[in-house]
Amino acid sequence: MVTSWRFCRRLQGVDVSYLVRDTIDTRALLERVSDDTRGGAVLFCGTVRAGPDDGPVKAIEYSAYDQMAESEFANIVAEAAERWPDVALELEHRLGRVPVGEASIAIAAAAPHRAEAFDVCRFVIDETKVRVPIWKREFRDDGETRWRSNEPMSAED
């Protein structure tokens, strides 16, 4: 069974969730990973998109299997830490209704060498898409809603 230590990360002695319900403060994430020994920092932001192929999207509502999502994020972070021990990593995924243009996920990685910071960010977003139990429902201008997914057949990437 999953034990409680896997549900959240501790930050300066306080339990912090990877899942948040408010606007993600990307600057704070970047600051948390930065220090004088890490010369390269990479921030990835996934934002709610309303492109020409997306139709009249107004917002996306994210929901999760919260406990498992926290646990999978913790696993991904632990795997990254094992593979890239010099890299500092922070991430947050937003739940609830996210308007077009706002971030649903932000990942910050900093490392002594820039290649590692890029690699960690890509690893984390790629793993998130295929492992973390989060779902999204699109709200459209015409009042319709529809479930969307990361699968190749879907319009999302």
Binding site: M1, V2, G46, Y62, S63, A64, Y65, Q67, M68, A69, S71, H93, S104, I105, I125, T128, K129, V130, R131, V132, P133, I134, W135, K136, R137, W147, R148, S149, N150, E151, S154, E156
Partner: protein, 85 residues
Amino acid sequence: MNTGITVHCLFFARYAEIVGRTDLELELSRGSTVADAVDRVRSDVAGGHDLPTTPLVARNQQHVKFDSVVEDGDELAFLPPLAGG
């Protein structure tokens, strides 16, 4: 002696809409696999036939394959196609 087991099934997002509920208790015979549990849900639960034949399933909050054996007290989560990120 009762040879049956009980697993707790969870349904999320679109799957919760399909079966009209977020969880249920499922009785299975000992030695059943995840595949057996999915088959039972699809055949016995109202709306269950509208679930895919091979949904993503997590056992005790870990992704599992369909041939995994389930045990008494397990939690089986039916996960629609993921959309995080």
